[in-house]
Symmetry: C2
Subunit: 374 residues, 2 copies
């Protein structure tokens, strides 16, 4: 049986969890939380990082930090996970969905500017499959219209945007705020888990407060105030040290994990290019301004029928691919709130995109041979 995903354990996860317990500290914001946050700040140049219980929670922190209110508008792709939109809907925002690119599920940057109104507050590009959106274009639009950019980098750990001069910027370091996921299906995992990366430091002090249930507890422990109390809205966004300890064991092995996943990805690419071409199936596009982080290998079939047939045939070989997302603009919750524009590329990816198994211990040859003989 080849499942869609299999969480990979580096070996030190439970060692570090036991260490956290022995140190007498398993609530949030302890030693391992700091180690993980420092790693991201140093490795990728994010100005300030805060671990969260999920990427969803990191996006909710972003919505609170941007002071999103009833009536504000936020532009994002419709082809994304519900959390991208839910986080802003929870604060009362109207979600304005943009269609995806023809050659990639990422938001079509050329469609964004026409959607901006005086109520628009933010743009939320999602780096689908860990492949960069066209960030120079998006940041330029945001700058000209005085908007904030929140990168949904859920799938985009250790991936880069390459600008016109060829210089590489880590995804998550470009927008004002960014959200990462460590869900078990991601490259680096903690079961459920996420992180807010803050690049615009005007948000740093308030982020720490919102993270700590609306209290100035962090400032208190640094000795900056003499008692701590309720100073703002907030939630318990910080994860247990059990989660952070687990995550640390993963981060220590990020090079090994990334190298293995990238090899699998290339193996898929080499093994499936000709077959995909023959069958009129699109394989992942990595634009010249993007890199690939080995997060996901997907097929875009030429029809729902073709996708259904491929799924059935793979399942008969006990191989379990998955599809997603149901377009948010036509979801039961949002279809009546959506402005009625058709988003044909989004709908196409909803019907035709198929994710192949991709995990550390996979042998891609098993999936390739099952596909090619179809």
């Amino acid at each position: 049986m080849i499942p869609f995903n299999k969480p990979f354990l580096t070996g030190n996860e439970t060692v570090y969890i036991e260490d956290a317990v022995k140190a007498g500290k398993i609530s949030g914001n302890g030693k391992y939380t700091v180690k993980c946050q420092n790693f991201f700040e140093q490795q990728y140049g994010f100005k300030k990082c805060l671990l969260t219980t999920s990427c969803t929670d990191a996006l909710e922190m972003a919505a609170i930090l941007l002071d999103i209110r009833e009536g504000d508008e936020v532009i994002m792709p419709s082809y994304t996970f519900v959390s991208t939109s839910n986080a802003f809907a929870l604060r009362g925002a109207k979600i304005v969905f943009a269609d995806s690119r023809k050659d990639h599920p990422n938001i079509d940057e050329d469609l964004i500017e026409a959607l901006i109104t005086p109520k628009t507050k933010a743009i939320v590009p999602v780096h689908y499959a860990g492949v960069a959106c066209n960030m120079d274009v998006i940041m330029d639009i945001a700058k000209r219209h005085n908007l904030f950019v929140v990168e949904d980098a859920a799938q985009a750990i250790d991936s880069y945007y390459v600008d016109a001069n060829g210089s590489k910027k880590p995804l998550g370091s470009i927008g004002h705020l960014s959200a990462f996921s460590f869900h078990e299906t991601k490259n680096i995992i903690s079961g459920e888990g996420g992180m807010l990366a803050i690049n615009d430091m005007q948000f740093a002090a308030r982020a720490e407060i919102i993270w700590e249930k609306g209290t100035n507890r962090s400032a208190f422990f640094r000795g900056e105030v003499d008692k701590y109390g309720w100073v703002d809205i907030g939630s318990s966004f910080l994860p247990s040290e059990i989660i952070a300890a687990f995550l640390w064991a993963q981060l220590e092995n990020i090079e090994k994990i990334q190298s293995k996943r990238s090899r699998h990805w290339k193996h898929y690419l080499e093994g499936l290019s000709e077959w995909a071409d023959t069958n009129n199936i699109q394989i992942p596009k990595v634009h010249s301004y993007a890199t690939n982080n080995g997060h996901m290998f997907y097929l875009v079939c030429n029809s729902l029928k073709q996708r259904t047939e491929i799924i059935e045939k793979l399942k008969s070989s006990d191989i379990h691919p998955v599809f997603h997302y149901i377009s948010l603009h036509s979801s039961p919750y949002y279809s009546s709130k959506h402005d009625g524009r058709n988003l044909p590329e989004t709908d196409r990816y909803t019907d035709c995109l198929l994710r192949l198994p991709l995990y550390y211990e996979l042998n891609p040859a098993d999936v390739i041979s099952a596909l090619v003989k179809l």
Copy 2:
């Protein structure tokens, strides 16, 4: 050194975490989540339980389920943790604070009715130190005014309300909804963690949706719908299986843990009653309608000065008690929103209450002898 708290490990926490990883499932709502939820439903008769990443998140789910909106009013004690109020403030509610009882930090049930207005939507009693509020009175008020009751049972695991006929109801089973905490300072822990208990089943189906990021994923996996999508607001309220596996190891030992903590509590009571009396210090009151779950032993000193002296003297013996809470009605965030009523008992507990160390591996005699010789 005697710290205020020391997390207790039963021994199987990391065994179950490794089991969860081996089963290929460490995201939320897996085997251990179900085991924990079933345990609470069977042991305490809560109709439906959902694990959350914190008690804060369980309270936020309650606020969403009650459809709390801008302008709604929610009555609660001011002497409580910020999350009790934050969860409702996040949805736009006005918080109406009631004073505590003279003989106990719990909300004074006789003050509630006068605070009800046509905008009041809910009452949130907090069972401080795991000791029951006067629930028959509170439920009667709620019924007569058509209000919802959310029990903040953060500290109240395995504790009971005893009605006039002497029959015992588990705390958390009485209000329409209840929130529990498994923070490292609680009796049963998972570092950070919590649970929503649903007693009014009108909320059950929507709770599951809100818990799963606003999707009907749970219904999908039960085969009730043929695809799942965005159907409501929601968040990622469910914890990792890593957390649930840890929690399960604790729950398997709940009797042992509760019995040890209760012994410590009685040890404190016997060792300190005379000394407290001599020094005009209040020790924990357990009303005839309540039980004690060994969560907390506290002193209510006769002045801030006396409390400060006791803290200093204990610290000189390397014993570390803690105090809390800064009254929410006079907090930086809420003082300008509060209606100006004085809450003298709340302020007294803020100034005078001191929590003594209480954890599984404690020897209370060490703390008692240090106190008595003061």
